[in-house]
Amino acid sequence: MIAAAGYLSIVVALVSAIALTVQGVRVSRSPNPDPARVKIPAIGLVLGGVAAFTLLEIGILTHDFSIAYVAKNTALATPFVFLLAGGWVALAGSVVLWGLMLSLFTWLVWRKLRVGDGLGVLALGIIGAVAVFWFGLMATAANPFEVCTEVVNGFCAASSWWPLSAAAAPLDGIGPNPLLANHILMAVHPPLLYVGYVGFTVPFAFAIAALIRSDTGRVWLDRTHRWSLVAWIFLTAGILLGGWWSYEVLGWGGYWAWDPVENAALLPWIAATAFIHSAIVQSRRSMLQAWNFVLVIVTFALTIFGTFLTRSGVIASVHAFSLSVVGPVLLIFLGLIVFGSFGLFAARASTVASSPRLDSLVSREGFILLNNLLMTLFGFTVLFGTLYPLLVEAFTGREVAVGRPFFDRVAVPLAILVLLAIGTGSTAPWRLASGKVLWQRTRVGLNVGLAVAAISVLVGVGSVSVIVIIGLAGFVIANIVAFYLHQSSRAHGGGKSWPTALASTVRNDRGFWGGQVAHIGVALIAVAIGTTSALAIRTEVPLAVGETAVVEGYCVKYIEPFSRVEPTRNVQGARIAILDSTCSTTRAVLEPRLHEYPKFGQVITTPQVWTTWIDDVYLSIASLSDSGIRLKVLIFPLQWLVWVGGLTIVAGGTLALGRKRRDQSATPERGEQRERADV
């Protein structure tokens, strides 16, 4: 029943998406495009998308094991949160989630359209075309509502795409992949990432619509500015939570491993970061029109590429959780997007205005260009490193691997340059920054940066690159804070009280200050990556019950082993007390565990972390026997700063969302005045 209704809603969404595309193109060509004429297909798409997702969740929550997907990815004993998350733990379900978001975004875009808006109607048609692909995928290669037709040994052994096939339901399902059902973060991380991925469909669609209509001014960019920012914020949050999940679940104490699937999420983020910055240059200085088209197309293509990498199994990865025939389909879609978009771009190149009025490289726009160069280089190199094993294998048949050493070697120098560019450039005036102004706005940072670097040496950081990064982070933060206080003090001098002055500085240009908050977040993360990599302590101690060991100012004591049987897993653990260095006062008790999932024959090492202001104590069981345990004790200084820095970036993006672009509605003269006031 649910399967039939679910499949029907996919078909409704698919048909609506086709209608939306056709009708969107037709209506946009009419003399006075009326969005009301695409309302019915838009509504159909939304209803279909919402219904498909809801029905899948109902099927999961009611344990309808006649649906093959439900029988495979959930079980009676699966805890509620992971049942809900069951909607996106595997390929078919995650495509449904993708479709849900795309259809909701379609609705949000439709609501903003007004009569006469040909660009918007055509963009909606493009979104419809993208939806045709996703719902077409659901209706064929990745059907989440396949009916289980044969049960062997209690497992669903065969399934049929036809929703009215005679169903056979196993008594219980298999359940989600243990790695995905081991931590609550796995329920949150994919949806956030997907909002980010799917969100870039909107700016992409407007860009393509603008190219088709040869309406290549800044209209498409201004209209999708907030969409890009929202998608970027969610992508940032999604990546951050993914790192946190790795740290809490994978048991080796890291949060980033340069794994292909991690890179797949990072690549669109890098492109989107470049896009957000270069969009500012276009709206302020009317430069980079062509480049912005390139960036938005690349960003969108990379979201598809990321999905392809995650879902095709073409590259071995810890996170590649589903292998299927969907790979080739995604690859064809990716090819269509890349060749179609760039073909269109090439055909319209003559209509894209080129007015490169770069007065000086030493200016705000000059530094943003530097940002774009660094981001492009970073993205390209990460992409190249990720695909390199595939290339070599294709040409020589030899197996090679590219991992952390390569990516670190690229990322560290680029990070140094990025911090230098942020610290110098984000407060530099537009057009031309004289040496004097530049010196005024960076000297505080230079001193603070040097002082912070010196302190890090005193604290015991030995790695030169980490010292440089910590110093530059101090440089960035101090320059931004100093500029903020300077601007506010002018408002204060104008008669405002300090709190009002501080608040009004931000309120007058939320876009700029939101960006600066995000820059501070980047600097904080840079510091944390430095300290957690250069100052980490990694050691393994053998402990019998009652024994203690001292590790870097902490004393760990093995209190007792414990074990319990939970519905989906057997838990074996060790109760470990963390005491002060003299082993007299207990400061925390941790329970690192081994989770055994008998159905999967899989044991997952589940670490536990105790966080203080100074460092994280990360305990993980290396081996557990009757005579005692081997306990991994990892200490990561300032680990919390990684998460706080990430949250700061998200907060900065959110602050920038509320920006009121005054110069947009104002006359050119007022725009000019504002520009001068900025200097």
Binding site: W252, P260, S317, V318, P356, L361, V392, A401, L458
Partner: protein, 146 residues
């Protein structure tokens, strides 16, 4: 009077601007002069080696990141070799002999491996040329703004 105090405070501020960087630079120079070698601690050395090596049976994980039994054994092997006095290069060479070159997460810059250096550097060159070109076009009379 007022003028004098302003001068005083400015001079004092100038002094701070002078002293802070000088001290900081001194600390940096002294602190980094002997070329402090962070990789003498055997556990840190073992980790740094494990990061450079791929777990032979895993899906794209390094020896440091993998929780498989083989990876655990190989980590112990690395620790034993370090204790026995092997250098980092000797341990890496031992792994290459046992598991082939695909065990290296950082392919050597020879043969195809040269591309891992050449391609990013080539991209950098293209980018720099593009940006400098953007600046140059400004001086070109044809590029005069409308």
């Amino acid at each position: 009077m007022n003028n004098v105090s302003v001068q005083m405070s400015e001079r004092r501020r100038g002094l701070v601007w002078f002293i802070v960087p000088v001290i900081a630079l001194a600390v940096l120079v002294v602190g980094l002069w002997p070329g402090a070698d962070p990789a003498t601690d055997p556990e840190a050395r073992a980790y740094n080696l494990a990061v450079r090596l791929k777990c032979p049976i895993c899906a794209g994980e390094s020896l440091a990141g993998s929780q498989t039994d083989l990876a655990k054994d190989l980590r112990i092997r690395i620790a034993d070799e370090i204790e026995a006095g092997s250098t980092d290069e000797e341990i890496i060479a031992m792994f290459v002999v046992n598991y082939g070159e695909q065990v290296l997460l950082d392919p050597p810059a020879a043969g195809w491996g040269i591309m891992l250096w050449a391609v990013p550097l080539g991209a950098l060159a293209v980018g720099v040329v593009a940006i400098v070109g953007l600046r140059r076009r400004d001086r070109d009379p044809a590029g005069v703004e409308k």
